[in-house]
Each structure stands twice: as structure tokens, then as C-alpha cells.
């Protein structure tokens, strides 16, 4: 996928939507990489005991996938200058061979100075919006 130039990105430009699979092993790997070993991200017994339907993904993993959606589009992992989200629903990850799917989409809302654009991002899993108010400022070439 060729990354867009600043001149190509206009208000209303849609980023190509992506789907990311999240399995239990991804949660274990993210726990190790991030240092967040909260038990609700790997222990089904404890997750259910605190009222969750099952083990849930780290909110920061969901945000990281949405960040990857932006950096892959821009072609540079350093291109995201600002990124903020609200975690509106958990990504529930069953213990099977499919796990959960996170669907991410985005739209350029505004052209800014310095070759930057504002992007609104949406992320859904199992029919629920898992991120809301997700907005980024991305620098393009």
C-alpha cells in the first residue's frame, strides 16, 4: 500500500479499513512487551469473577492497533504526532483459534500546517464501538 502524500490527503479522504485478529497469545505477548500483567487480560476465571464476559484485551493494545493503522497508512511509525482515544467497550477475547477481530477505519477531517492532517478513527469489535473520540494528528510526506 503506497502511503499518501500531504497533497493527496483531503478532508473526507478515507483511510483503507483494516481488520486485526487478537488472540490469547497476543495478549500474553503484549503483557510482556508492555509490562501490564493485569490478570483480567489472561485469566478467564478472574475476569469472570469481576463481572467481565471473558478475558479482555488491554485497552492499550487496542489503541496500539489503531496506532498501527495510522502509521502503516502514513508509512512511518514516527508520523503520529498526537493520538487520543476513549475506551468505550472492552475487546472480549475468547480462548479459541479465532480470538477477537478489531475493525479499524479512519477519515481525514482537516488539513493542518506542517504537512499534518487530522484523522478521526473508529474501532469496532463484535459489533461494539471499542474506541470513541479517537482522533490523531498525522504527519505526511
Amino acid at each position: 500500500m503506497a502511503s499518501p502524500s500531504y497533497d493527496q490527503a483531503q478532508a473526507g479522504t478515507e483511510l483503507p479499513p483494516r481488520q486485526y485478529q487478537v488472540m490469547r497469545r497476543d495478549l500474553v505477548r503484549y503483557a510482556g512487551a508492555s509490562g501490564d500483567f493485569n490478570v483480567i487480560h489472561w485469566n478467564e476465571r478472574v475476569a469472570k469473577s469481576v463481572g467481565l464476559p471473558n478475558v479482555i484485551a488491554h485497552g492499550m493494545l487496542t489503541m496500539a492497533l489503531a496506532g498501527r493503522f495510522l502509521t502503516e497508512w502514513a508509512g512511518d511509525p514516527g508520523a503520529v504526532a498526537e493520538f487520543g482515544v476513549r475506551f468505550s467497550a472492552p475487546v472480549v477475547v475468547p480462548d479459541d483459534d479465532k480470538g477477537a477481530t478489531v475493525e479499524v477505519a479512519g477519515t481525514v477531517t482537516e488539513r493542518l500546517d506542517g504537512n499534518r492532517v487530522a484523522v478521526d478513527v473508529t474501532a469496532r469489535s463484535d459489533g461494539a464501538k471499542v474506541l470513541t473520540r479517537a482522533r490523531a494528528v498525522v504527519r505526511l510526506r
Partner: protein, 147 residues
Amino acid sequence: MAINTAYIGRTFEPSEPYEVSRVKIREFADAIGEPSPLCRDRAAAEAAGYPDVIAPPTFAIVVSSAGSARVTHDPDLGVNYAMVVHGEQSFTHARPLRAGDVVVAQSTIEDIRPIGSMTALTTVTEIRTVDGEHVCTARSTLVERGA
């Protein structure tokens, strides 16, 4: 309200210095599926204009957590962590974190406010190099559900 509102505005001690390594950046990029060679290959990062391999944008949580731990581990703040969920998160980057950075994270409690039966705790964490260069501002809101 369970959380002590006298803490609003309080700035905590900075974290111990954290040295960003190429190995840790690669590990984090692998964990989130970020495929870019700029997170793995110094020559590729240099060709793109960076001094060394760069971290994905949300890697900053690894560093900012060290600062916000000073907040969340304060026994007098009165947070019940069994009831806490991550409500909001944002990052403003002056530049990407990169291998070789030695950074500290310092947190300030920006706000503590009720939302119905819940309490929201917003913390702003500044990430700076040990030389004083500002790299990233991380803002995090934790929500404590009512008991």
C-alpha cells in the same frame, strides 16, 4: 468520593531514568504487529532521517507508566484498583521515542471528578530526556467504578 480530591494539582517525583533500547522497541513492535523496518533496522531509520530506530507512538505508555505508578501506588490517594478501568488515553509527541533515549516520566494529577457513581482520575505525565528535552506528554484517565 473514595479518591482523595486534595491530590488535585499534585506533582509526584519523577521516575527513575528509563533507557530505551532497540531490543525493547522491536519487542513492542512485534507485540502490536507493527511491521516497519524503522522500528528494527538502524540503517533504515537513519535513511528516514532518524538518529536510531524509533518506537511506535503508543510505546510511550511503557515509559509513562513508570511515572504514573508513583501516583497509583500512593496509599493515601485511596484508589481501589480492583474497580479501576482505563477510560481515556492520549499522547502528544514532540518527536518519536528512539533507541538510546534516557528518559524520566513525571506525573501530575490534573483532575479527580465524579461521573455518576464512578470517579475519574486524570493524570498528565511528561516524558523528558535526562538532559531536559521534552519528548512526549501522556494524559491518562482511570475510572473507578462505584462499589
